[in-house]
Amino acid sequence: MPKKILLVEDSRTEALRTRLILERAGYQITTAANGKEGLIKAAEEKPDAILLDTLMPQMGGFEVCGRLRLDPKTLDIPVIILAAEDERANMPSGDAQNCILPKPLDPTRLVNRIHELTNGNGHTPGDVQAELRRAQRQVEEAKKSRTDFLANMSHELRTPLHEIMGMTDLLLGTELTSEQQGFINTTRTSSNALLSLINDVIEFSELEAGQLTLEQKEFDLAEPLERTIEIATPYATDKGLDLSTNIAPQIPKRLIGDANRVRQVLSNLVTNGIKFTERGAILVRVDAEMQRDHEVELHFRVKDTGIGIPEDRHEIIFEPFQQADASATRRYGGMGMGLALAKPLVKLMSGKIWVESQVGQGSTFHFTATFKRVQSAARAAVAAPASAPVQHLEILLAEDSPTNQLIAVANLKKAGHLVTVANNGRIAVQTFEERGRRGHRSFFDLILMDVAMPEMDGLEATKAIREKEKSLGGHTPIIAMTAFTTKEYRDKCAAAGMDAYVSKPVRIDELTKAFEPFLTPASAEPEPAAVAPVALQEALEIVGGDVDLLKSAVALSLNELSSQFADLQQALAQQNAKTVEAKAHRLKGIMGNLGALAAREVAQRLETMGEQGNLTGGAAAAQELDREMARVVGFFSDPGWEARARASQGASNG
């Protein structure tokens, strides 16, 4: 019986070629066009060997290989990885090379290798597979250590920068001659530029690690464009270039998406254009590519009259640290981070980025991005004034750096808060406890906690405080101040029991924003809603526009809420993580089906806590969930929603 070979390859020509080679050698071939299909066929057909292409969209060869090893059905099938020369440079050396074959494929080598593997000559498959697994682990570890390195480095770079920026801000608030003011303004501008560069590097590492997510907030499309022009104008004026923007009139004014990311991609493209243009103009144009009921796909163009890019560099310029011409680095400066960042960002916005250009003819950079349309309900909620009353909080500040203490205390006092300073985590815990002993009603309103401190760091201190709260009662919000912005690190803060975080350097406006959720006590009047409790359009999509169906789903769901929530609270009280997970999971499902995104998110957090067996902060999250669910119930108790839903369906059908 002929041996069966599964070939997982995304390129049809490559697949055809390889198939012919193998069929001539007497093998029976099955092909899969991507990793996922490959996994399914591997499990179903149990081939004698699998050939994997390394570079495939979505799931690469190494990952497919890793997954094959996770499945007992496919665990022992020998795998040969096919890699182009330049990819092989990144692979670990040693015996693992034995099951990596270079592309373009040498037919004799391929057939020999398959013969050896399927007949047990040479390496036994087990050996080879163990090697391959080891190789894969090494690749993963290398990737991880790079991400860690970048996270650490960013911390090191940002801490002193934080101090420079903080002192600059304070200095600007004192009496200065206009000359001094000019100096300080320049210092501030340069620090900002440096910070954004550091942020670029961090962001790139986060994007690479898949840790970055997009915000979904309502915004005015003109905003990111204006911001981009504002930032770029000084540079353009310096070079005598014109800058202009044009938004097609049929595009809805307000959209839902991540305005900051749009701005980021645009300003990368615009500054890039300015950099490579000596005379002429930069033109930004936005058109609607496609308008659907709930979504708009926009097409952005950034056109310059610069030096242009040779055709063979049109793709590579979107890779990190690459420019159209190495000598351009010297002439035009820059490390070429901008475009590399733009590509994954655009991908996150479900779009594409590309360039049209000829040497000497200027370039036009294109990208597309998809945004949600604003629904009227969400709109009304946003329009409600969010006037938070001014409150004076009693704050415990745990921070070891004297400079940072000075900055923070000055800023907090200016905002009217009372501040107690602790020099490290140990002292913070002590201070917190002493307050409790002296019988103060509510220890502190809020704790601002630096994460990296000597003696006891912020994570440990938080854990200690949460432990003490178990006997003392209460839940004091703890806000982390950290220069680490990776998701991994944020998760660590959350796991330690921190409620929120602000990134360093801490800006007073950011801090105030972080305080907001803690300003109004839960027992007071409901807060003005920042986001509508229910994304009606989302809910309608789930039921396929059938309003009656949504109505019965609402009735059934709301009926169940209180008993499910009571179970959840009981499980929390009994510290029963498994039940917390199950109940939160159910509530998450219910909220998700109703388009109650905020409530769903809180339930998700609780589910994760349960899953990880760490219920710290669970009570607070349950309170939050209760509030969010109350808003959802409120939303559906108002019969107006049904009319709005029918109206929106009518509009989209007509």
């Binding site: 898949g210 396929g544 789903a553 169940e560 999971h585």
Partner: protein, 142 residues
């Protein structure tokens, strides 16, 4: 001839109602079951063309139901579409070292015999597309 029969098994009644409603609106013949035991019985007696199965259910979970289905000669060829709320698998595949844990759910699902997955909350459009694809793949005229 009408469209195929679809059996939905989920402990969440609202979810069941919604799914059944969507499928009925699209012309399918639908039945529902609120737990695994009930679901297995209906699958055996009614022999649907497709079963939509929630993973996380109290008592018998989706994996177990699926394994039972695959053991019974009468039901072993029925395509199973699993519902998962864990999410994030498809989106995270680029991220090599995070995949192991996330993919486990799905591999476990594939292992127990599921053919496809849907992540909750499921939009009507996605549900109908996936149902159609799975039915087509298992030889139903669509």
């Amino acid at each position: 001839m009408g469209k195929a029969r679809v059996l939905c098994i989920d402990d969440d009644i609202a979810q069941l109602t919604v799914m059944a409603g969507i499928l009925k609106n699209d012309g399918y013949e639908v039945d529902t079951a609120k737990n695994g035991t009930d679901g297995l019985k209906k699958a055996h007696d009614w022999q649907p063309g497709l079963i939509i199965l929630d993973i996380m259910m109290p008592g018998m979970d989706g994996y177990e139901v699926c394994r039972h289905l695959k053991k019974d000669e009468v039901t072993q060829n029925i395509a199973v579409l699993m519902l998962t709320a864990k999410g994030g698998v498809e989106e995270k595949v680029d991220h090599a070292y995070e995949f192991a844990g996330k993919v486990k759910d799905r591999l476990k699902g594939f292992d127990s015999g599921a053919m496809e997955f849907l992540t909750k909350p499921v939009k009507a459009k996605d549900l109908l597309q996936r149902v159609k694809a799975v039915l087509w793949a298992s030889g139903f005229p669509v």
